[in-house]
Symmetry: C2
């Protein structure tokens, strides 16, 4: 999965202990539960079952854990835009692909994308993540506009408004989806694509 | 507008001073900015430019202000379900009406619906509001299921999943819509209806 590369690349400069990934998983869960501002290193240590100094063996700061978590989410969604089906072919088909795959990444990386969507902008890392989100949104908005220019979209809905509503639908999944048996990403992703592009009603 | 009736009915038992509505508006803005838990009566008094004892002349508690704000939002969306076009005719047309009108109410009552959507369930009033939201969601889900039974909806999307995605799209509007000139509710509501029911793509 291309998006895991992002974390590896981010940490390539410094050797990381074997359980850095599990520390990140715990930290992101605590951030999502208490809010990043409200989570203390003590809370992270307690949740991870290690000492604070053991955490500092892995990362320099709470903000570094935040950055690693956000990089994982951003790496996942940006990787979708680099997939061949998102780069080649008619814009409407590329848009379908991006909607479906972004939803799949959101479900597969639920805690990390939840963290990304709750970012407020109080730290440099959060502002960087917000900037990355805007870049991603702009790329999808450009794809919607391109499909509209091709005449593939209905002409009575503004492409920018459509883009916002589509993201609203996709992003809302973090509010109600809970992982578990029989709760695979694929049917949700297919429903998003179907609903967004073709609508809920049966086509004549 | 039928939804303002709800507040009037709720406060009919006790005469309310003339500026109770403006106090409510200020209180809801403070709740949305600081979170209900984080907002103190001192903050409300300061924002309203009155003393705390003047607030207690209007309401018994912070929680009463919360209830009034939530009643206004809930009154608005439940009133939609009582409109003739939501009660009579084929389910697919009733669903269209409910999607469009709910979006219009959300935009018209933005701060109150924002408050409703951020409710966490820490107080009895919040739990009551969450219960009301579930009731509303269930009524719309029933409408989607009815339209599916009529054969008016595509058969490859589960009606419950579709309902969640539709609400995700509508509710996300509170995250980005800001009132202002040229930002009317009608185009947004029309876009929600068009996108949800007919989809973004041009029909052949």
């Amino acid at each position: 999965m291309p998006h895991t590369l992002c974390v590896s690349q981010a940490s390539a400069a410094r050797p990381r202990p074997h359980d850095a990934d599990s520390l990140l998983r715990v930290a992101v869960a605590v951030f999502n539960e208490r809010g990043y501002d409200g989570a203390r290193m003590t809370d992270l240590a307690q949740a991870a079952g290690i000492t604070k100094s053991a955490i500092y063996h892995h990362v320099r700061s709470k903000e570094e854990l935040l950055r690693l978590g956000l990089e994982r989410a951003l790496g996942g969604i940006f990787a979708v835009l680099e997939e061949p089906a998102a780069r080649e072919g008619p814009a409407i088909l590329r848009l379908r692909h991006v909607l479906r795959r972004t939803t799949e990444v959101l479900v597969a990386e639920l805690p990390y994308v939840t963290l990304l969507l709750r970012v407020r902008g109080n730290t440099a890392t959060e502002r960087w993540a917000l900037e990355q989100r805007r870049t991603f949104d702009a790329r999808v908005a450009a794809l919607v506009a391109e499909a509209a220019d091709d005449g593939a979209l209905r002409s009575d809905v503004d492409p920018r408004l459509a883009t916002r509503l589509l993201f609203g639908m996709v992003n809302s999944i973090v509010e109600w989806h809970r992982p578990g048996p029989g709760r695979a990403a694929a049917p949700i992703a297919a429903a998003v694509e179907a609903l967004a592009v073709d609508g809920l009603s049966r086509r004549a």
